[in-house]
Amino acid sequence: MSRQGLFDAYRVSQVRVENDRTRTLVFESPLPESYPGQYVMAWLPGIGEKPFSISGNDPLALTVADVGPVSHALSLVRPGERVWMRGPLGKGYELISQSHLLVGGGYGAAPLSLLARQARTIGHSVTVVLGAKTRDDLMMVAAFEELGCAIYLTTEDGSAGVRGLVTDVIEQACMEQHQGCIYACGPTGMLTAVGKAAQLLELPAQLSFEALIRCGVGLCGSCELPEDLCLTLGISPGFLVCHDGPVARVN
């Protein structure tokens, strides 16, 4: 962490539109010593601060869905403007085995795109399951294609891929190719279902949770995963998303 946890200003070089409400901000410089699944606290002085998983680390990229005041302000940032960062923070994904199943719900695709890049760079095979409400909500499909990933799509309304949820195709994706581990990011309900599916398939899983992160350094306790969820998935109770995660290992 540069300057020991204080903020560093990063200048935006490019803004990519991912879908109607989601932009990827690509910055001019890298985020040193970071790896997929980690996050930064992004600060717009005078507006606020919010956690974002990194979707690129060299150069730094953050994928921002416009869902609240801070993310709205970030989605309006233009090339040449600055965003302040502290990080990298937390514990991310760790590639185990040679063949990987990545499962992303909605903007959960963002950190997985960096993980897929890392795995493909070292020649591992990657299968990606992307799910969303509708075709228009799917994200980064082309990016995963360019990396040479096998792709399954699901939408709740059936407008693209299989009608249904990501969990409806996980088993098939596993049967068609031997998978060593499932890596997932998305809403908590999806992660719970993916964690249970992994248990049935007897595969280890790494689940990246979203939470209300405040301090970002494991002190305030605001981001604790609910204890019943921990017990359901076999995660040690008292799990702090900001410090022990955001990625939790199960099985």
């Binding site: 301090c215 306790g221 604790e224 109770p237």
Partner: protein, 307 residues
Amino acid sequence: MAGLAADFLNLHLKNPLVLASGILGTSPSLMARCALAGAGGITSKSCGPEPRAGHDNPVALAWQGGVINAIGLTNPGAQEEVSLLHETRDRLKTLGVPLFASIFAPTLEQFGEVARVIADAEPNLIEVNISCPNVASEFGTPFSATAEMAAAVTREVRRAVSLPISIKLAPNVPMIGDLTHAVAEEGADAITAVNTMPAMLIDAYAGRPVLKNRTGGLSGPALKPIALRCVAEIASRVSLPIIGTGGVSTGIDAAEMIMAGATLVGVGSAVWEDGPAVFARIANELTGFMVETGYSQLGEMRGRAMR
């Protein structure tokens, strides 16, 4: 063989290290996690009369000297808190770890009311937080600012509950010895010293304070010498046991705090580096120090630096 056992009021702790109030909130699972990780005692985050969301981000930052925070007394309110404390106390009891319940209130009268509600959970001690540095814009000057106000809160809480009470003091007062004396006169059983130091960090490139609340409480290594001075002065004025808190992150730091006069040692910001595993590490280091230097129990070190 050096022993870490610590007697405090009517309690027997396996070691003197206490999770400081405000760290890791109020959830039973997190409090139990710290106890399992080796804390000798647990203090829950301060609870007030009403639920509070706390301040907006940024609320905390690590910097070269430790941590600065303005969480803003996030808590579920006394009514909700009391059931959490019940559960926490039960879980800690099976681990042989006492629970200290921290309370705050915006007015004198409400201190008594919150204490009465929280006493239902039968914590081993109520810690009375009269020194949060981050809510002055809402609540006015902290009660820790003068001996008169600190004594008045102590009297109010003393009247409200029969449980042991410890008053948590601020470091930024001119005569902490006089203030402690006034608090002791009103029936405090112990003193917790100190809270964080009011402070500010500015980002020069952004041209503004980094915390949304502008100011916050400074803790970690930069606070330690300030806390040592306060604990030493308090120990010289009253015979009450002291929970010495401020910047302790190693076993040597803990030994220094005890040598200044503390009976128990609060650990807070140090959790940032290692997580709850910090308790076992500090305990091991403290044992190592005692073996190396020939102390067999904590009492031999207590107040030694001031004799």
